[in-house]
Amino acid sequence: MSVAWQFYISTVLVYLGVDVMACWGLNLQFGVAGLVNFAFIIFQAAGAYTAAVLTLGPATKGGFQQYVGGAHWPFPLPILAAGVVGGLLAVLVGSFAIRRLRRDYEAMVMLVVSLIATSIATNQVGLVNGPNGLALVPKPLATTVNLSPIGYQWLFVGITAVICLCVYWLVHIVTSSPLGRTLRAVRDNEQAAAALGKNVTGLRMLAFVLGGVIAGVSGAILVEFISAWSPGSWLYPETFVYFTAVIVGGSGNNLGVMVGALLVPVAFLEATRFVPQFGPPGFIDALQWIIVGVLALVFLWFWPRGVIPERRRRFSPAAEREAEQPLTSTRAGR
């Protein structure tokens, strides 16, 4: 296989890894816990920014990039820090956005938060270097490992795959456990869940924060790969692409959203690379967005549960012993 093809495929694989992780995070928030987090992209952006400045080092006075924070941390610390920042940002946003509001107001609050964040990031030049963003972020391990450019690409693919596995472990233990079941119950009927003793706000916050951590990590990987970060890449329509991926793939099912991530952000958007240029500049991009919107509507109409829907959990008949507990409680303290 030619080097050029290898470059292309390894790049696509990294993007796929990033998108799959992001979709798992969003799925935890939206598919499992029912949080319509339209600010998802800013958690990715915050994680990416954190990783970027922690690799780039502090801003030099009078340098061409002015931004807040900075250090020269070795890999993988910037990525871990990105996860932490994503989680902390979720705590902050969640503290005022996760309330007993009707779901569409909640979604709207999240959307507004992401618009405010974008606006501030773009306008306050000292904060994150304004609309130009950051560039020349050093690639992780580039100096310690002596590889050819194509070798390095594959190394990065490997790093991405390992981190993907870690993220999968996290979302899997949550969704397949009683915790996941409780989150889905909260998603289906908050009032009933509260009447059964579930701390609804706390649980939603948990899902929100975990999703934020994952989003941060996925952003970090992306920025370490492409070495640049700008506010313009993290606009709210990007969140919509992830939502479409989750819906198409199968909201609530980790395998499903993996397929969704493959189909929507990767396959579909990459496919346009091979389509010959026609129409005025920007025409194909606009067409892409139209198709994404139509895709979302079509799937919501015909297959709202996605390509691989949430699995029905069955319990094996032979596994239990007869329980001796009476139906009414005689336990002390209840």
Binding site: V36, Y105, L300
Partner: protein
């Protein structure tokens, strides 16, 4: 300082006029149907493009206003009939609907981009004269905008107070099931609510671009959050509240732009929206915050 503040108030009044028309349209529709239509801003943009086509063809801007309003009205009714209502009837819950409206918004916005391209547009109008009132400077266009807004608000007031439709809309906004049981033809009321709010939406889109040097495919969408802020601050389904809120937000935004920086114009509306939703969602939105599903 004062010398910048007073003209800012003047700008604020113009912005408030546009916000009032848009906000009343939004709140009427939201109040009656309970659907948070995030495509509203893009319908405004589309109406602006219709007006652009009309003025480019050499017709007067007044005709463009009518065309824009008519477009907004028809488009909104069709959008509800063929997209929103079917999804609701299919059982889509509230948070599914928000994805539907965002999808529509993306499709509409990008269709405009695809059709018209990514450049800047403006309405062909005769050069306006300046008028000085108090310490404020207005162009004749801006005075026209204020006048149009006042007329529209008056029209809405008359509609709501004195017509059967207006009363029916108020009843449906308060309690759709009860309204239906009282024999109000809720489906027709809902159609008309979309038609009227759509007309206001289209009108707002045209006067919005009358007030700027140029517009693009995202101009209307950028206005959406201030519009929702106006609707929420004034109370969902309360058109008079929306009018007042429009004044508050319009003037506050321009003052913030004058005092801090023009980039922060939108942030004022954003922050007001978030604060109101969080601090007093029950107080201001008591009827609506408890309504869990949509009327369609």
């Amino acid at each position: 300082m004062v010398s910048t503040l007073v003209p800012a108030i003047g700008f604020g009044i113009v912005t408030a006029s546009i916000l009032a028309v848009a906000g009343v349209g939004f709140t009427l529709q939201f109040g009656v149907t309970n659907i948070l239509n995030l495509a509203y801003g893009d319908i405004m943009t589309a109406a602006a493009f219709v007006a652009y086509l009309v003025t480019s063809a050499g017709f007067s801007v007044w005709l463009a206003l009518v065309a824009g309003a008519a477009f907004g009205s028809v488009f909104s009714v069709l959008l509800n009939r063929f997209v929103y209502t079917p999804f609701v009837r299919r059982g889509t819950r509230l948070f599914g609907m928000i994805i539907v409206t965002i999808a529509v918004s993306l499709i509409l916005q990008n269709s405009l981009l695809a059709i018209f391209g990514a450049s800047f547009f403006s309405l062909q109008m005769s050069r306006p004269a300046s008028v000085h009132i108090g310490g404020m400077v207005f162009t004749t266009v801006q005075l026209a905008i204020i006048g149009i807004a006042v007329v529209a608000m008056l029209g809405i007031h008359l509609l709501l107070r004195y017509t059967k439709l207006g009363k029916a809309m108020r009843a449906t906004a308060t309690d759709p099931d009860l309204a239906r049981n009282c024999g109000i033809a809720t489906d027709r009321v809902i159609d008309l609510a979309w038609a009227i709010s759509g007309a206001l939406c289209g009108l707002a889109g045209v006067i919005l671009v009358m007030n700027v040097t140029s517009f693009t495919d995202t101009t209307g969408a950028q206005f959406l959050i201030p519009i929702i802020a106006v609707a929420v601050l004034g109370g969902i389904g309360q058109p008079y509240g929306a009018m007042l809120a429009a004044l508050v937000i319009g003037i506050a935004s321009e003052l913030a732009a004058a005092i801090f920086s023009p980039d922060y114009k939108d942030v004022v509306a954003f922050v007001i929206l978030v604060v109101v939703l969080i601090a007093r969602p029950q107080g201001i939105l008591s009827e609506v915050a408890t309504r869990k599903e949509v009327a369609a």
